[in-house]
Subunit: 392 residues, 2 copies
């Protein structure tokens, strides 16, 4: 199992705080925005006397409510297509365990969410990366690049759309290219779409479930964590119209007995959050995105594409080594008693030579803090380049 | 992945209910007794605005409270020895994933909890069973039987104590034999002790954590599910004093981000359940155990040892095939509009020839229902032997 490069920074962050330094956390995917009140209220209304097992695939009432939710996005499902999981993480793990044998390969455009790699290792499978580049705004690499990697061990393609860590949103044309590949080579398409609420451009959201002719190949990975700011309740979903795969996944579900009961109650209630909840959250992210991206691109030598969705961006910094820089920010730097914690992009690439001068920045702080954090980052870059890199 | 023999019975049970037949569920490990009020109240007192991720190893406050809990059983731990997991199930999975490579073997006395097998398959490991027999009351098989199976792929021994499905409690002498084996061959000892509250004889509870000289080898699997009737909150624990193992398990924990937040709040509160809660639950199980075992042993041809702990027994029935009998009870039998659902013991043995005439019976029904269920079982046995087995 690989260790996350960001986890290695935690002791440094703790030490900085112990020295009295304020740390702006630009490294995490934990929204600071509130959980919907209807979700919080649901906790207070639990009137059971036994907190018992739920069905292994989750309560039917939740799955039926999710059917309505997906219908808003023109994703047509029945409750039997949905398996409730313990977070999106378990959905990825069970998808891999059910679809992949040891040695099987999946193709993943990188940079990519680091834990996919951990789940692939758990399943004994191999991730074959295709590198998307910051120069192209992290667009989908060409079909030829995929085809170069396809061999008789290739079982699937994994995408995250909108993307963590880049914020990229695949276009209709790109999604059709993926569809054609999946169909031509009869692959699984694992599509992690947990950020669909967070799309900031006029571009349409094309779900893997919208693609015609590959209905049996698509495995949708989902979670309520981000859309309702409910990361802690651990409720996700694995969605497939492939009955054989559904039944295989259910064996893993039955072995772990059931997803969390209370989380399901909260998630089900949260689907009824009023429109204003989503509007407020959305407007706030729009404002933060502008604040962050404008601020970053004004710093000398820094470049960030404009993310179309999610609440992250991958930015290029004028540095030699982002692992070293991120550690230095925490361990050896402060500006007026403050510093920043960033996620080195090395954690999002399989190839250790990729992303050496990139970092992932999450905009899960209020605008005032974001502005201040960008100021601190600018000072850190100046000082790092002078003191560590020896620039004039 | 194997499919549980008991899961195959579910559609038959549903169909029986749809025909209006009342089904006594003697097949499940879901206690009917209430969750402690302090646990239920904790839900109503959650005053957070964001249901955020918890630490990957669980809240320190819960782990510190668990340290006090274990101290009552003379298990001396620090909070850093405890990793909070998503149910005991995840603790077993992560223990196997962290300790075992594909092809590695663990020795498991059978009959055993069926899902261990599923988690071993997930880790690519192999379970080597040793059969305990009903004639010996399911006592630990001899040391020689273990030694016959030990080879250079053997990495551990797994026990469940008190035992699901047999209710057996390992004696001090048996635990010392296990200790000596573990020490001699430098094995891991995976010890699932989730039923420690439910020990009904004067015999002492010997935890794997009490065994001297193998502190680095022991992996304790635990869960609050049974002791507080909180199966649904999915809070368990993996406990080890082996730092290298702890760190390996943490990589899996970090990949799945965090255990359920709300469950941790409920579990932490439940540790403060008043003594009367435990006394009432305990007295109820004592009474049910007597009711069930007396009743079973009065049925012609039926034999059940007296379980010393947990809330199950494995009974021998005068039948040819328990899978067939259990399916027949649901599909083709009723007595005055009622029938019973039992767990065929075939699900608890690797060898399909073992346990053909055994069933697991859980005493998670009130005494009145248990008495009635035994009456119905007696009628089922009479009719099955006459109509299906062709006995006079």
């Amino acid at each position: 199992m690989p260790e996350s490069p960001i986890r290695k920074l935690f002791p440094l962050a703790e030490a900085a705080k112990a020295r009295g330094v304020k740390v702006y956390h630009l490294n995490i995917g934990q929204p600071d925005l509130p959980t919907p009140q209807v979700g919080l209220d649901a906790l207070k209304q639990v009137d059971r006397t036994v907190l018992e097992y739920s069905p292994s695939d989750g309560y039917r009432s939740l799955r039926e409510k999710l059917v309505e939710y997906y219908a808003q996005y023109q994703i047509r499902l029945t409750a039997d297509d949905i398996i409730v999981t313990t977070g999106g993480s378990e959905a990825v793990l069970f998808a891999f365990m059910s679809c992949l044998n040891p040695g099987d390969e999946i193709i993943v455009p990188e940079p990519a969410y680091a834990n996919y790699m951990a789940f692939a290792v758990s399943a004994g499978a191999v991730i074959r990366p295709i590198t998307a580049s910051i120069e192209d705004g992290f667009a989908l690499p060409s079909v030829e690049k995929f085809e170069e990697l396809i061999n008789d061990r290739t079982r699937g393609i994994l995408i995250c759309n909108p993307n963590n860590p880049t914020g990229y949103l695949y276009t209709r044309r790109e999604m059709m290219q993926i569809r054609d590949l999946v169909k031509r080579y009869d692959l699984f398409l694992f599509s992690d779409e947990v950020y669909r609420e967070f799309i900031y451009t006029g571009s349409p959201y094309i779900s893997a479930c919208h693609l015609e002719g590959i209905e049996q190949n698509v495995v949708l990975i989902d979670s309520v964590s981000k859309r309702y700011s409910e990361c802690g309740i651990r409720i996700g979903a694995l969605i497939t119209k492939n009955r054989a795969l559904h039944d295989a996944v259910m064996k893993f579900c039955q072995a772990r007995l059931s997803p969390p009961l209370v989380g399901q109650i909260v998630a089900e209630a949260s689907i009824d959050a009023p429109r204003e909840y989503h509007t407020e959250v959305y407007d706030e992210y729009i404002a933060r995105r502008k604040c962050l991206i404008d601020g970053l691109n004004r710093l000398p030598g820094v470049y960030s594409p404009i993310p179309m969705g999610a609440f992250y961006t991958v930015a290029r910094l004028p540095i030699d080594d982002s692992d070293r820089f991120c550690a230095w920010c925490l361990g050896e730097f402060d500006y007026e008693g403050e510093t920043v914690m960033l996620a080195p992009a090395s954690g999002f690439y399989s190839d250790p030579t990729c992303g050496r001068n990139e970092v992932r920045i999450a905009y899960v702080l209020c605008q005032q803090d974001l502005q201040r954090a960008i100021r601190v980052l600018g000072e850190a870059l100046k000082r790092y380049r002078r003191e560590v890199m020896g620039e004039e």
